[in-house]
Symmetry: C2
Subunit: 612 residues, 2 copies
């Protein structure tokens, strides 16, 4: 017999990849849970189970059995794969749910904008227009020899062919009546296209959380289309370590994660090609950057050794992979250039940032910072480049924060507090349902300035809007009362939330201090302080200084550059010279390993304090 007293009072429901967690009472449906969490699902039929708008996939946990409505809307294979209608399915345990993009009524804000790029030096790909002599009984050259001879006349003395060019050459020559455009990378023919086809390239930044993709015209360097998406690997682990653990524990793990991200990229490619009205066959070159783990998972490289000391990459140097090797839907003759990694936790994405922010050729003293679950920092000083990686954790992605969420509509992104009275701004000006990274950073800074917390992060007795935590022994600050929120529940900042921000900012500041020490300078010597990445774009520099994450410098020395990694990928896509620079960056960087650095522990303890 089941003791009713032992029945849990609530279940915890996690919505991925949006990163929203909510507690529900038994009997509530997943759609109700989503509503409570501020996750707006498509619901055309109004929750009657007769449309598939609220289709979601269960990652873990148990649900009520499928209802007849679900069995008529979903295929047996979809049910087998864990798809359910959120309006019909009721959790019987804690549940983790994957929400496909098409089921989300509003989309998440994805940082894809960076600075523009211009072609520097020679283009990676040269298009060559050719009119070939047709084959005849008095001219029996093979199709490849015919193409080779025509290119020789155009000044390409000794070309080689991508195998996929040869697989399709005979057909395209005859279909195009022997008039074609060849795309060459140096002396290698990468693709043969119809004579009027534009030559395109793909630049991608694969982040642990988000993916940004850019479709470029390789001759002009103009961006034709841009897309942002969530990294679907989030369903297998929020951070890189948990994804590597997934790979170690599942035989097909590496393949699953690779297939997953490639499928997302292929979807983005199809959308961008549709928008630009081009064929994906016209994409004859790609550059993809990511941190070392994303790089390895995309390329199909082993990751086990990345998660155990001494955390070395399988490959540091730049790689050119045939597109077919990872089944990326671009011209099969194309190569995917993967720029070099610096270390196990400093990947090609940071190389790309160092490239696009011109840190590599800085004459002044410059800091460049990529804030994420890992924060990579490079200091350029006196002709040297010093670099480290800080384990800043996912707090700035909204994770591990009581009411945290990613930067989606309804997320509180700005907070002001005066005399204990908060004033908030939400993304999309929607009723608030949670707090994203820039919001929680603001909140902690404002609580500190307003004297509601002290520099240790402790709430002050009797401060306005401070109360005992509902489910914890600690105090919390009421940021928005339930009557003013989108889901009818209080939004609060807890002592634990403040602590998460202390850990995150402490890691970043400690890394900064160690680099300054190694560079033999102090914070005031920094001429330029570059902040890259999505959170880096939206954070309030004043708040970051208030909590002591960044040093106190004149405000004009800070520069928020958006997706600098994506910008660097675009530069490497179109410019031979920039690609060469990037290939050499790791050789010029002195990597500083923080975990074994004598001064790190002390610096970290000190940096945990909230300074104001």
């Amino acid at each position: 017999m089941t003791d009713p007293k032992k029945e849990p009072l609530t279940y915890i429901i996690d919505f991925e990849p949006i990163g929203r967690r909510v507690e529900i009472t038994p009997g509530e449906s997943l759609l109700e849970a989503a509503h409570s969490a501020g996750v707006e699902l498509v619901s055309i039929c109004g929750g009657k189970g007769s449309c598939d708008g609220c289709r979601v996939r269960i990652m873990s946990g148990k649900l009520s059995s499928p209802m007849p409505g679900e069995e008529s809307v979903l295929t047996p294979m979809e049910l087998e794969e864990g798809y359910r209608l959120a309006c019909q399915a009721k959790p019987l345990t804690d549940v983790k749910v994957d929400v496909p993009p098409e089921s989300l009524a509003t989309t998440q804000r994805l940082q894809v904008e960076g600075q523009g790029v211009i072609v520097v030096g020679k283009s990676i790909i040269s298009p060559v227009d050719l009119v070939l002599e047709p084959a005849s009984l008095i001219d029996l050259r093979s199709d490849a020899a015919r193409l080779r001879d025509a290119l020789q006349i155009e000044g390409f003395a000794s070309v080689s062919f991508s195998p996929d060019v040869l697989f399709n050459l005979s057909d395209i020559l005859r279909r195009q009546n022997w008039r074609v455009r060849a795309a060459l990378r140096g002396d290698r023919v990468m693709a043969v296209l119809p004579e009027d086809a534009r030559i395109l390239g793909l630049a991608v930044d694969v982040g642990t959380t988000k993916v940004a993709a850019y479709l470029l015209d390789l001759e002009s360097g103009d961006v034709q289309a841009v897309r942002g998406a969530m990294n679907p690997q989030i369903s297998y682990g929020e951070d890189v370590i948990s994804r590597i653990v997934y790979c170690n524990e599942n035989e097909d793990g590496r393949e699953t994660l690779q297939d997953n991200v490639v499928a997302t990229l292929n979807g983005m490619i199809a959308e961008m090609c549709g928008e630009a009205d081009v064929s994906s066959q016209q994409i004859v070159e790609a550059v993809i950057v990511g941190n070392t783990a994303m790089h390895h998972l995309l390329a199909g490289l082993p990751v086990r050794q990345l998660a155990t000391a001494p955390y070395v990459p399988a490959v540091g140097e730049a790689l050119d992979l045939p597109a077919g090797e990872i089944e990326l839907d671009i011209n099969p003759g194309a190569l995917i250039h993967l720029p070099p990694n610096i270390a196990g936790f400093i990947g090609a994405d940071h190389v790309s940032t160092v490239l696009s922010t011109d840190v590599w050729q800085a004459k002044k003293t410059v800091i460049a910072l990529d804030i994420g679950t890992n924060t990579e920092i490079t200091l350029a000083v006196g002709g040297r480049m010093l670099c480290c990686s800080c384990a800043s954790g996912p707090a700035f992605e909204g994770a591990h924060i009581r009411d945290g969420m990613r930067a989606a509509p309804g997320a509180i992104e700005r907070v002001q507090i005066k005399n204990g009275q908060p004033n908030i701004y939400t993304i999309g000006e929607k009723p608030p349902v949670g707090i994203c990274g820039s919001g929680i950073l603001d909140a902690v800074a404002e609580l500190l300035k307003d004297g509601i917390i002290d520099h240790r992060g402790s709430f002050q007795e009797g401060a306005p809007n401070v109360r005992e935590g509902m489910s914890t022994q600690h105090k919390e600050f009421l940021l928005v009362p339930s009557k003013d929120t989108g889901h009818g529940k209080d939004i609060v900042v807890t002592r634990a939330d403040v602590n998460e921000i202390q850990l995150a900012k402490g890691a970043i500041r400690a890394g900064l201090e160690i680099l300054l020490e190694e560079g033999g300078i102090v914070a005031g010597d920094i001429d330029e302080f570059i902040i890259a990445g999505a959170f880096g774009t939206y954070l309030d520099v004043g708040s970051a200084i208030t909590v002591g994450m960044f040093p106190e410098l004149p405000r004009e020395r800070f520069r928020q550059v958006g997706n600098a990694a994506g910008t660097g990928a675009q530069q490497m896509l179109i410019s031979t010279e920039r690609r060469r620079v990037a290939d050499e960056i790791p050789e010029h960087v002195e990597y500083v390993e923080l975990t074994t650095h004598a001064g790190f522990e002390k610096a970290f303890m000190k940096a945990m304090f909230l300074e104001f």
Copy 2:
């Protein structure tokens, strides 16, 4: 209502790839048909349908419905794919049957022997034994950089990596405790193996009918194992043109034929590796030769243009394909070297023959001949090489001959006729069931010598054992009466058979004469006459001279060299220098197109006569 008079009296059953045709009366089973045809199927249960020994696959035609016995022995998928038990299935129409090798009680004779090879010059692959420094917190180089540095110490200044090396490097380094053997091709690392692994290579000759494969030790050049098999593409067409038509008419045709031959190669590789007690991962290089169509089908190149004028290859030059590209089960980092083709109907297999027979460096006047469905001939004279392809047809494979069959046990391979009394020899000394290529050539020569046919191929009235054809208006010669055969039926040589031999030998002799004319010499000037290939090995040179296929030369000038194409493939597998020679052979060959040659028609008409 069916008019019983209209019911056909017989059905024609074709057994492939053995190439045996038989007529049966309605009601006979496929097993009985096979027996009549002299095709010995495995039949453990004695035809009761309770074992799967006589499993065959139906290519075309209709059979009786599957019996319960078949449904219990064969899987639903096998039945779906056309598999049946020969003892249970009864033809309802003419039927074409594919007999899998495992269902054949006796195996076909496959020519794999050639001359031995020795390493000339530098080996293609260099093994390098390495002991690497383990990764540690004070030595954070990536695994690839670590390998690169160790190779630099061994004198390899600037190596590159096959992508598949990088995919497996981290795991093998740690599993082998940092002691490994790298296999390098020039400056490229093709594979990383355990420290004591032998470095192996694969040489293959893919013929239209037969496949020969050789497993070699790349250091010593010693052959470790050899296998012969039928080319399974025969089920889709006996000659190259019908296979190309199959590809043109079926969307997945090219892929089907490629998968087919690769599956056969993978089976041979597995068997050879088992015999030599090695892993297929140790095979780090392969050379595959074949005619241009076999080459294109294997590589996945388009073949449509090979079957229409002007019959140009997609690719003439040598290719290096990654093993993974065609899913060949060898080390995934290995490259498959495909030597160059000369023309649409003169492929890399003939280049390989020209290489291994030393025709490329001949000082004397030499003819080298690869006899097959197409016969390639090269004449070396006065520092020139002239080359042509003759459409000799499949008669010497036993096809289009009334009682023809391939060189399997029970095939008549030698014939003597004195005063109209034949004397025969069969392969394996089995009771005769048909005539193979060398037997039919002998028979025609002996009939001519004995005065039973004249030089036009017509049977002489009243000659012994000559009778009116049973089902034709023409005469035929009774070679073996039914009481002495393995299947209880007469074996005969018909007027049509003689005509097929006239067409075949006429094509070859005409090609020869044109080459001699182009070379400005006469037949008597030939110092050496090299005959390559399986039929070339077994044919009786005297008979070939008798019918006028070969010119009358002193017998010691003829040299039968076995599978010279296979021997050449082995040479190219182990020797850098020989591979370079082969790559350049097409540039030194003058291709003579017979179909547009002014003198060909006349030469062919003349060569059709049987000269004695």
